[in-house]
Symmetry: C2
Subunit: 286 residues, 2 copies
């Protein structure tokens, strides 16, 4: 059983509409409020060598990334910290606070608990105008498939390319890019934290179109042998780039650096160079 | 080092204003939005014998209680579940869902993770009119000190009075009472989840008045010897009653059942029958 199968259990209880996007969406005055929560903990998410500050930073960053992927502006963060050692608290809180400040959000609440394993749960709240929000749904055949930055760097660190430490330890959520992409009229968006392949399968499962990649266009981490770089870019997890679809007439979106890596097509599924793309990436296994 | 000392570490980083009340408060259109997050886990919070459903119910209830204590209306819940056994998921989610439905809220998002210990983090969001919100601050000398329900029942179960199982396993947050108390003009409020004594010390620390209890007026769990019942009512944790101060001219608040247990006085501190009340109750120790 993997995360996506467990999600089905949840969907049956809370309904499908609340499990499609990276964030829940509710009205807030004239605007929309987006909300998301993420649980991270030592064994699974915090790599050996990370400082408490980096653990706090990453915990905030993954949540701000979900908000960015809806084209929303992060406003507030609540943080629950389960501590195996109380001496970690100041570092974790400072890292989360610095990340929030960097991206315009504020920590407004939290909880502290003693726990057998360092566990951090961040809940992020953002605001977005009703006509600017971007969801996972909305892609149309003929849209461009695009991605910010260079995917695969976080996983590259785990495979021994230590120059990519910062990509994994201090992810930079694409908050400003997300807002500009919302204004620029992208049709569907999510972050690629589980890797490009799984992200595209997620998009394919909620849109009435297929996704066709051109491997030659895929940005890859530099100074890594070709096959491995391609593997990392497609299947590596732990990145927080934005992957999105864009009607060709809206290209280019001003002020955002991104790469066109394919187009959406009639039909369904995910192809690379015309062949089915393997459906694998970062998933917890039970 | 206890929870309240750890809170000082947090206060230095995120600022004091966000650590006083049970919830953070932010504007949302014409209203105020209150938000709170709680981490519960097997070792510390889920008593042996609780079902998965009860674990989910309790996890939602503690968060809804924080919202109730601000006189707000619970609207949304996000729930992050760290599972040591995926078979627990459906029960936990159903319990949380049933509790939310009972009190008018909806689960709108969440996260699932594999974890060495069952850990549930609930984040609750509520709405309240600007002129109805009640905070921990606002008490004035001469106010009545009041409490809903009968404190000490949850702790009574832990001390062998098994008839109080439901109080501990399926707490009923005072959502309707909270809203009516807000409309009824109470001056300060919180829930008593750490026990009456610590709750009053918390209120005393943020108000410019003292709190004087009359032990004869204190409701106590029935069919328990007198001294033990008094001890449970004052120092027992795990209840989710509302403890509040009320200007005498606003008494009685219509439609809410509560007991007057004392009055606020000039000065500071917490007294019972004229003597200082011991400052102890439910606190994690490190």
């Amino acid at each position: 059983m993997d995360d996506r199968e467990l999600l089905k259990v949840v969907t049956e209880i809370v309904g499908r509409e609340n499990t499609i996007d990276d964030c829940a969406v509710v009205p807030c005055g004239d605007q929309l409020m987006v909300m998301t929560t993420d649980m991270l903990h030592r064994t699974t998410d915090f790599v050996e060598g990370m400082s408490d500050w980096q653990i706090g930073w990453m915990s905030a960053a993954v949540t701000l990334s979900d908000i960015a992927s809806m084209a929303a502006e992060p406003k507030y963060l609540l943080i629950a910290v389960g501590l195996d050692d109380w001496k970690s608290l100041a570092g974790v809180m400072q890292g989360a606070q610095d990340c929030c400040r960097r991206y315009g959000a504020a920590i407004i609440g939290g909880d502290i608990d003693h726990h057998g394993e360092l566990t951090v749960v961040t809940t992020g709240i953002g605001l977005v105008d009703r006509n600017r929000i971007v969801r996972r749904t909305g892609a149309q055949p003929g849209d461009l498939i695009c991605i910010t930055g260079t995917p695969g760097q976080a996983q590259a660190y785990l495979e021994g390319y230590l120059q990519y430490e910062q990509a994994l330890f201090e992810p930079q959520p694409r908050v400003e890019e997300g807002k500009r992409l919302g204004m620029g009229g992208v049709s569907a968006m999510m972050d690629d934290s589980d890797g490009i392949a799984l992200s595209l399968y997620d998009l394919a499962s909620v849109n009435d179109c297929g996704f066709s990649l051109d491997s030659a266009k895929l940005p890859r981490p530099a100074r890594i042998p070709g096959d491995q770089a391609r593997e990392l870019a497609l299947f590596g997890g732990g990145d927080y780039e934005l992957i999105f679809t864009l009607p060709p007439r809206r290209h280019p979106v001003e002020g955002v650096s991104y790469t066109i890596i394919g187009t959406t097509i009639e039909g369904n599924g995910v192809l690379i160079d015309g062949l089915p793309l393997e459906k694998r990436g970062y998933q917890h296994r039970w």
